[in-house]
Structure formats: structure tokens, C-alpha cells
């Protein structure tokens, strides 16, 4: 029973922590991209592509946490 409670507490907590981390990362990445676009609007296309790739890598971490959370939910 205790394990179940711990699992029930841990899954949302872990997901939230992962979201905090990748939120900060995405904020940094988009911040940089926006500034770069503002300075060089003519390079906006390339910057955007790079930003999307980076954002995908950052966001993948939350997705891993989400998948682990689904696994945990299945055990709950």
C-alpha cells in the first residue's frame, strides 16, 4: 500500500519536475532564437529551423518522463 501511495505521489511530481526543467530550457532556446531573429530578420527561416530542432530535443525529455508516468500509472 505504501508503495502505491509513493508511486501515486511520485508520478505527478516527477512529471512536474521534468516539465519545469524543459520549460526553462525551452524558454532559453526560444529567447535566444527570438533575439537572433530580431537582430537578423533575414535569417529568420534558418534560425527557426534550428530552434524547432532544439526545441524537439528539449521537449523529448518531458516526453520520456510522460511515458515513464504512463508506465507507472499502469502499475498503480
Amino acid at each position: 500500500m505504501l508503495e502505491m501511495n509513493l508511486l501515486g505521489l511520485g508520478i505527478p511530481l516527477g512529471l512536474g519536475l521534468a516539465a519545469i526543467g524543459s520549460g526553462i530550457g525551452l524558454g532559453n532556446a526560444v529567447n535566444g532564437a527570438m533575439q537572433a531573429m530580431g537582430r537578423q530578420p533575414e535569417a529568420a527561416g534558418k534560425i527557426q529551423t534550428a530552434m524547432v530542432i532544439g526545441a524537439a530535443f528539449i521537449e523529448a525529455l518531458t516526453i520520456y518522463a510522460l511515458i515513464i508516468a504512463f508506465q507507472g500509472l499502469g502499475k498503480l
Partner: protein
Amino acid sequence: MGAIAGSAIELPGRRWASHGGRMARSFEQPEVNPEFQQRILTGSALGNTGSAQGNTGGELGPEFLGRVRMASLVLGGLVTAVILLRMGTLAAGAFGVGLGLSILNLFLLEFVARRVLRPEPLWGPPVYAALAVKLPLLLGGSAAALYWLHLSSLWFGLGFASVLVVTLLKVIGRMVTAPKGGSRSGGFIEPKLAPRRVARPGVMKFLVAMLIAGPVVYMLASGAWMAGDLSERAGLSVKPTVALAEEPHGGATEHAAPAEGHTAPAEGHTAPAQAHPAAGGSHAAPAANHGDAGHGEGGHAEGVHAPEFPNWIVLANYLFPDASWAHFLHTWETPLFSLPVVLFLCIIAIMASRNPKMVPGPLQNVVEIAVESFTNFVEGMLGPQGRQFVPFLGTLFFYIWFSNLEGLLPLMKSPTSVLNTTVALAVCVFFYVQYTGLTKLGPGKFLMHLAGDPKDAIGWAMVPLLLPLHIIGEFAKPMSLSLRLFGNVFGEDVLLAVFGMLILIPLGSFQFGLPLHLPFIFLALLLSSIQALVFTLLSTLYFSQMLPHEEHEGAHH
């Protein structure tokens, strides 16, 4: 002059103000009883019903009421049929009586309006009779239905309200689609001059269509029976199919065993729900509540399922729990949902590319734009030699995109919300990338690439460390690709389902959800497109690392 001065006054006063304008023009305008007009307009400031000349139905008048009546009849009949099939005759009867009473009321109103709102109002005995009958009919009919016939008040009320809902939706639709010139300067003043239908730009039409179709579609989508409940009854568990954690499902025998186990509690649950029509009368509502409370607890005891909207295969398994073809469908669920996307893409491609024209038609135009822009995108990343990868990457993109979007359709499911599909796609990418590396770079350079392209003594010293890292990195690519896509699409579907089932209204033995997931639909539309793009973008990036040019080597890990 008079018209302009008149219309400057606030809108409800228009009919008074427009007297001057009407005099100034030569054509005849009817005197409209303002009270009746007000009553029929249901308080809409837009309405200029009274223009009796050419009531085209584009305005809020008797024609409009007639259309509301027809729409209510058709829709109400359909809903009654559904209720008859699902909830039994008692509920359907109550619903039908409510609907009929409401439509009768509407018909009387329309009858009066048709006679009164015309150039020469026909105030005669029929009109007075209709007016006199209206209120007693309404009250007496309701009282008789509820107190003497002991019909379920919930269903009766729903039936009665359905007509009002249709009216409301139609009024909103009218207000949104009303021609601009008519309502601003007062179509009442110059009905001949204001064009009936102003051609709007295509975007506006699209928005209007979405505004009307959106709620209907998503009511349908979320009005589907609660997924957990339904799947439990069908004997299917909706646990997330994370293959990493579970042993792979074996043959049909293994599959059938949990299904048998699930059916027994499901039957137990149906018993109280079935008892509710028998209780009848005013006891119907509490009985329904009890039945559903039992269901909810049962669902919790089973364990937490990731909620998903039921698709048609789950429905088939629910309706025919013992049929072997239903289980066959369930076994082949993902390929069956992938098939429509594949067929759609094939048919579009064939239709657009066979018999190409110098002056392209609409379909050829769209496909050409898509192919051209995608080619530009890939060539921008890979250079001119990237052209050979366009078919593969383009197919990936469009297949993933349409698969993601398929999950938003009612009774459908994204094939990409299953890990098997995304792993298959990612493995394709993996092998193609390695093959490209081996052929374009050559085996020696390929190995050097994996070793981190050592150039000096420090580089060579790092090789024992970098080679395993790079090899692991190569294998991590398909894993991250597939898990990202699967997690996004599956998480998005679960998010929609969670919000769609946030507030459940118990109706009979079923639960209906409010469409609270509507705002997240737009998020899901965005995410579906972005994830398809990201998958393709990353694949392109992996190809670019395997192509022999030096700029991209630095970005590699």
C-alpha cells in the same frame, strides 16, 4: 436624408426612425405590429423581420421559424431514434413528447407570424385561436405528460429544450452569416438595394463553417460513451501500450483470457442500470444515479486506465462482445486505422499525378505546392544532393501528419499513438540513414565518422571513448524519434479524453461528457502538425550528418 438621420438612432428604434426613410422612397412598406415583431425576433437586435417584400429566409422571420421547425424535426427524430435504441422506449417516449410539444408550439408561433407579418396582416379568428391555444397547450401538455403520464422529467425537458437549442444555434448562425451591408445600414430601410448575400472572402466562410461545424462534430466526439466504462464492458483494457514494460501479447488465446475475465463484472454492473426503466416515474433519476455511481467505483477498482475516446473498433467490441470478427478487428486495430491514411494519400497522389495538365486544376495545384515547398525545405537542409531523399521524407511527413490528425476525428484513432507504428517508422529511418552513410561516405569514412573524424593525436586518443558513444548515439536516434512521436500523440489523445470526460452527465446507464476539450483541439491540431514536422526535420538532420560535406559534421554528437 431622413433615412440617414433615422438610422443614426440606436438599433431597436430603427422601425420608428425608418418611417421617414420609407416615405421618402417610392415603394410601399408594411406596417408591422412592433410587439409581434419583437416577440418573434427573440430579442435579436439584428432582425429586420418585417420586410415583408421577399422574405427570402435569409432574415429572422416566419421562413426562419419554418426552417427551425424542419431542422428540429429531423434532428429530434434522429436523437429520438438513438435514444430508443440505447435507453429504451420510456426515455424515447418522454423525449419525443417533449419534442413534439415544443415543435407544435413553434408551429403555432410560425402560423401566427405568417399571417400577421405581411403587407396586409390577416387578423382573423384562426390567429386569435392559435394565440389562445398556445399557452394552455404548453402548460397543459407539460402537466399532462409529467403528472398523468409519469414521463421522465429529464427526458421530457431535454426533448423540449432541443428545439430551443436548435433555434439558438440557427440564430447565432444567422447573426454570423448575415450580410454586412444589410444589418449595418438597416436592411429594413432599403431591402432592394442591400444585396441579399454579400460575397465574403474565403477565410470568413471557412471560419463560419468551422464555427457551425465545430461544436457539432465535437459534441459528437465527446458525446461518445465514456471510454473507460465502455471499454470495460467490451472487455478491452485501454492501458497504454508501452511495449517496453509489458511482455508482448501472444496469440489469440492469451488475448481472450483477460477479455473473459472482464465481461463478468461488466454484466454485474449492467443489472442496476437495466432495472431503472422498470422503476419508472419520478424514481428514474435517482435510479440512474445509483447505477452510474456503481459504474464509477467499479472503474476505479479495476485500476487506472489512461482514458481515450472510444474508436469504432472498441464500439464494435462493445456491441458484439462475443463475435470473433470484433476480436479480429481489435487485434488488427492499428493497421486498420493506418489503412485509411495510406489509401487517402495514395488516391490523392494518383489523382493529382495521372494526367497532369499544363494549367493545373485545384488538386494538382495543391499537391504541386506541397511537393515543391517540401523539396525546397529538404534541399535547403541537405543541399542539391538531398533531392533523392525527398520522396522518402515527404512520405514520412504526410503519413505522420495525417495519422496524427486522424485521432481528432470522432470514432477514429491515430495509428501513431501506438508505439509499434512509431518504432517501425523510426527503424525505417535508422536503416536508411545507415545505408546512406555506408554508400555515400564509403565504409572507411563511415567508420571514421563513427570514430569522430580524428585528425590529430588527441583525436586518435579519444577514439576508444568516442566510438562506443557514437554507436550508442546511432541507436539512440530511432529510440528518441519513436518515443517522442508516440509520447506526443498518445499524450495529446489522453489530454483530450481527460478533459472531455471531466464533467460526466449520467444518462440512463451511460455517461456523456461535456465538450470541455474544445480548446485543446486547437492545441492538438498544432501539436500534430509540429510533431510531424519535427520527425521529418530530425530525419533530415540525420541524413545530413551522413552526407559527405563538412559543414554539418561539427553539429554532430
